[in-house]
């Protein structure tokens, strides 16, 4: 599971970075989104990977981390998802405005 997760984070981050460095605004937007997926998975993995372990206390189960997964990264990931989603939407609006004003989707507003 670790290898699959690491590979997917790597693939997402790699393609995200490649797209950010491209010259079209839409590619940059998709790159930022992919990068944020990679980051979200990464935050999630920082709570250590566990299967079948709930993040919430249950009755009759001892209060130690051996029986639970770390709830903090999950809470962080929720916040991060919401914030990146909002920021991506905002970036999309700016992208459309730039497209309208410059009649061009190059990040510099003109073909070089």
């Amino acid at each position: 599971m670790e290898i699959i997760l690491a590979l997917s984070i790597g693939a997402l981050a790699g393609s995200g970075i490649w797209l950010i460095l491209r010259s079209r605004t839409y590619q940059v937007l998709i790159g930022l989104s992919l990068l944020s997926y990679a980051v979200n998975l990464f935050i999630f993995s920082m709570g250590r990977l566990r299967t079948d372990a709930p993040p919430i206390l249950e009755k009759g189960v001892p209060n130690t981390l051996a029986h639970y997964t770390d709830p903090v990264p999950q809470a962080l990931v929720l916040t991060a998802i919401v914030i990146t989603f909002a920021m991506t939407a905002l970036f999309l609006v700016v992208l459309l405005v730039a497209r309208g004003l410059t009649r061009n989707d190059h990040v510099d507003g003109r073909e070089s």
Partner: protein
């Protein structure tokens, strides 16, 4: 008293938030009501910030700093989110509301009608700034960073137009990428050290096992890159000149505090987490910070000398000020830090005033005249030499131009660090501290054991301070001569009284700081000492108990009494 202050700590966040909510509810019209609301709210925030500052400074000399901690959600420190007021954060609060107030007042004369929701966005920006200065938690810091960035995206685009949107697009893309780095760094630190609370982190770093330490340092480095993007360190500051120069003037004036947020976080976290007590991680990354700061100043100086228009010059001044601060922080001794804090205040106020002043100066000039300034010098070696025998009496300088000229000269003195204004006092304090034997702690740390001497690092720093001051002087003098001393072929700008008020007040504030340099320097010294000896902060945050919910605590009653037996979460 303490309880009072503890509750007051959240006011600088709630007040602008509530005001912004009301403004959004008021809709797009009724700009004047919103302007008044905004100014009143910022003034109240400033008042609260000043009272927090006085409280933080109330501890007698030698005692650990008075800090007030607000437990958001009433969970005790390492688990819950805390807001912490100490000297440094309250100082930044005062600075932020001052600069925002100036920008706001200035915008009322004309700029706030250039787009929608200006005042609401400014309030949200103020909320984000205050939150970032107050929070004692890494992830909460991220949230407040996003709040202030979201507001700043709106403000950068205020006034619209193709060049502004283009610069805004770059600004947003860079900051979104930096936010990703922030998240990666924060989660790495959580994964390695198991905490996001800054005070708890500082307590845990010295006892980290070696394999975790590596991960933690990697996280801190990534986090550092995110902050350095905001602070505008050299390879990461390419977005800054266009975004600042193209933003409308009051926004640019407010943004002069934005790079200081990055600087603030480094000033807060680096000495605390990687200070002398950090064991194997002590002074982690200091050389990067130092070299980066010096390169930033070099870049800023080159950019400044090459700038063809005034807004861009102001933007490069922002970069120079950031670089100077970063290099001075990296020196790692409390004396230099005290000078750096003084410099932070002085340069922020000066750049802010300069951005506003530029707008007034530009108003009376022929469009494109700036572009000719440098081109003239480059091309007309044989000089345009007009026969100026025509007017032997000379031209009377209009009063407006005289005031603008004096303001310009004051800004130049402040930014270059020449006497008699605060820029000089700040640079003098830094230089003085570098001559002391423990002036540059980084160098001392490297020679480990032998008596620390004035190393190459100290000399480089000093040279950097002096050369950058000289270059700023040259650039400002050149621009000043071109703007004010040419024959008046352009019209005298029409300036409204309301527009002069913020500029003059900012410059008068600098003058007051110069006159009161003694007390101010003592305050900065105490602040720097508490930054470099963070035990007071760490203990202060971690020892605050949660309040019992069933027992409403009234003003004046000791808050510590009921919380001895704590319920574990």
């Amino acid at each position: 008293m303490t309880l009072n202050m503890n509750s007051l700590a959240i006011a600088p966040i709630l007040l602008p938030l509530a005001t912004a909510a009301i403004m959004v509810a008021l809709g797009e019209r009724r700009r004047n009501i919103k302007a008044v609301l905004g100014v009143v709210s910022t003034m109240m925030t400033l008042g609260i910030a000043v009272s927090l500052l006085l409280f933080a400074d109330s501890a007698p000399a030698g005692e650990p700093a008075a800090i007030s901690v607000y437990l958001v959600g009433n969970w005790a420190a390492p688990y819950g989110i805390v807001l912490v007021v100490d000297r440094l954060s309250s100082l930044m609060l005062v600075l932020a509301s001052t600069v925002v107030l100036a920008g706001q007042l200035y915008s009322i004369a004309r700029w706030h009608s250039a787009g929608m929701f200006f005042h609401a966005l400014v309030q949200l920006l103020l909320m984000g700034l205050n939150g970032a200065f107050l929070t004692g938690d890494l992830f909460n810091l991220f949230v407040f960073f996003e709040v202030l960035l979201a507001a700043s995206y709106g403000l950068v685009l205020h006034g619209s137009g193709a060049p502004r949107v283009k610069a805004g697009l770059h600004y947003i893309a860079v900051n979104l990428a930096a936010s990703s780095l922030f998240l990666i760094g924060a989660s790495l630190i959580y994964g390695a050290a198991g905490t996001l609370n800054m005070a708890d982190l500082a307590a845990r770093v010295p006892i980290l096992p070696d394999d975790e330490r590596m991960l933690m340092e990697a996280g801190a480095a990534i986090l550092g890159v995110a902050f350095l993007v905001k602070a505008g360190m050299w390879p990461l500051c390419f977005w800054l000149p266009s975004a600042y120069a193209l933003a409308v003037p009051p926004v640019a004036a407010i943004f002069s505090i934005m790079t200081k947020v990055g600087v603030y976080v480094i000033l807060r976290l680096w000495p605390m987490v990687f200070g002398v007590d950090a064991g194997a991680s002590a002074f982690f990354g200091s050389n990067w910070l130092l070299v980066g700061g010096i390169l930033t100043v070099a870049f800023g100086v080159i950019g400044l000398l090459a700038s063809q228009d005034l807004p861009r010059m102001a933007a490069y001044n922002v970069i120079i000020s950031s670089g100077t601060l970063l290099a001075a922080i990296a020196a790692g001794s409390s004396g230099v830090t005290a000078g750096a804090l003084f410099y932070l205040i002085s340069s922020t106020l000066a750049v802010s005033a300069f951005f506003l002043l530029i707008d007034l100066i530009e108003r009376g000039r022929i469009p494109g005249a700036d572009v000719l300034v440098v081109t003239f010098e480059a091309l007309s070696e044989e000089d345009e030499e007009e026969p100026d025998a025509a007017d032997p009496v000379g031209i009377a300088i209009p009063a407006t131009m005289a005031i603008l000229g004096i303001g310009f000269a004051a800004c130049a003195l402040l930014l270059a660090g020449l006497p008699p204004l605060t820029g000089f006092v700040a640079k003098f304090l830094m230089l003085h501290a570098m001559f002391l034997p423990d002036g540059v702690a980084v160098g001392a740390h490297e020679v480990n054991g032998t008596t620390p001497t004035l190393g190459a690092l100290s000399w480089t720093l000093m040279a950097m301070l002096l050369i950058s001051g000289f270059a700023v002087m040259v650039a400002m003098a050149r621009a000043g001569v071109r703007v004010f001393w040419v024959p008046m072929e352009s019209t005298v700008p029409k300036v409204r009284f309301l527009e002069m008020v913020p500029i003059v007040s900012l410059l008068l504030l600098c003058a007051t700081l110069t006159v009161q340099a003694g007390p101010v320097a003592r305050f900065m010294d105490a602040t720097a000492k508490s930054i470099h000896a963070p035990e007071g902060y760490v203990r202060g945050v971690l020892d605050v108990p949660r309040k019992r919910p069933e027992q409403p605590v009234i003003d004046g009653q000791p808050a510590t009494a009921p919380a001895t037996q704590e319920v574990s979460p």
